[in-house]
Symmetry: C2
Subunit: 219 residues, 2 copies
Amino acid sequence: MWLNYLVNTYSFMTEHEMNTEQKILDAAKDIFQHKGMTGARMQEIADKAGINKALLHYYYRTKEKLFEKVFELAFSLFIPKVKEMMTSDKPIFEKLEFFIENYLNLLQKHPYIPGFIINELNRNPKMLVGLIEKNIQLKEGNLLGVIESQIQHEVELGIVKPISARNLMTNVISLCIFPIVARPILQGVLFENDKKEYDLFLEQRRAFVKEYIINSIKV
Amino acid sequence: MWLNYLVNTYSFMTEHEMNTEQKILDAAKDIFQHKGMTGARMQEIADKAGINKALLHYYYRTKEKLFEKVFELAFSLFIPKVKEMMTSDKPIFEKLEFFIENYLNLLQKHPYIPGFIINELNRNPKMLVGLIEKNIQLKEGNLLGVIESQIQHEVELGIVKPISARNLMTNVISLCIFPIVARPILQGVLFENDKKEYDLFLEQRRAFVKEYIINSIKV
DNA sequence: TTTATCTTTGACTAAATGGTTAAAACAAAT
DNA sequence: ATTTGTTTTAACCATTTAGTCAAAGATAAA
């Protein structure tokens, strides 16, 4: 199909007429995110995409390159959102509520991505190097700086308790992501492995986490 | 060596006279925890243990069996501690401080284990089935029940704010483990990848987390 | 010293796996 | 219809990898 490059969405296409490149990416995403770089098999990805293994190498010459593409897509879906959501000009409480709400939505839609990112970065931390500046322009609108001075400002107004931006961000992200990433063990230990119960727990935690974070810095 | 089975510690031995089985376990632990089941190579483990690959199969017939052993050791080092530390008969505040203090120590000593456990459980959640009851006798001294009723009791005394035991445990564990598990990304985004700074951050967070958790439930 | 048992090794095998190639199928342009 | 360029496939290759085996070394007992 010589106009593949014009197609950047496929919601209106049926599975069958979806272009090959996209089918490959979808399949690769699925396999890589569940089995990791080392656990994934090119044959399995080809099968899932419904194509020949050779065709995989025709589009993405090596497993490495295909993996990098998938990783980058996952990364750019999750990491820039943090900055994007935290640098609006709402007051800090609203900002936090907005962030938690939206990040939990994102996590619900892509529950395997954070674990995938964490795991692969642990395997090969060098991948991070180019990726951060590519996805977060730290220069203008420095994330930490913005939050830091916003907190300081609202501390002076007597609205929030003092807290370092790094600790605050770490807490928020930990409380949002960890229950998803560590689902198997938490579900096992705290819920006798009852999937439904854990889903309900996560649902109820949405409001809980918001309140918990807000209360912890409300003066 | 016919008295291998008598040796269960080796702190007094030099690397050289350490028995083979232990050398294998140490090497396997290292490789598996850094590369995961699928990324690890039997040859690499053999090399690290300073033995022949065939000897690996002599002691642990398959990669699977060796992995299971390593996983079980890691699991039993981390999971039962939760119960052990939370079921003492201290008041809740002391209990939480004690837990956080000790769990952070454990994490500092074995920073790769939680990521290892989480990742492998994600790959194969079935592993959990036997492991939980083997490591935590849920029957007597039910962990959640104990905490739950302790909270309720202290709520009635007007000492703590009401909170579900599951949410409290999830918060504590998330705040302790996540900054270790997600170290590469947090260090990258929040600390411009400065390792020393991140170590310092973790060090300072020890007191911070304790205070944060306590304050969040102090009435 | 001999014998029996346990430990270790080098050499090997079968299967899996990432990657290649040459040719076929297809689509568009002339 | 022919040509030209692109997409897809079946068959193949080289390497890696878990696992085996027979024989050699070591160790304690007889």
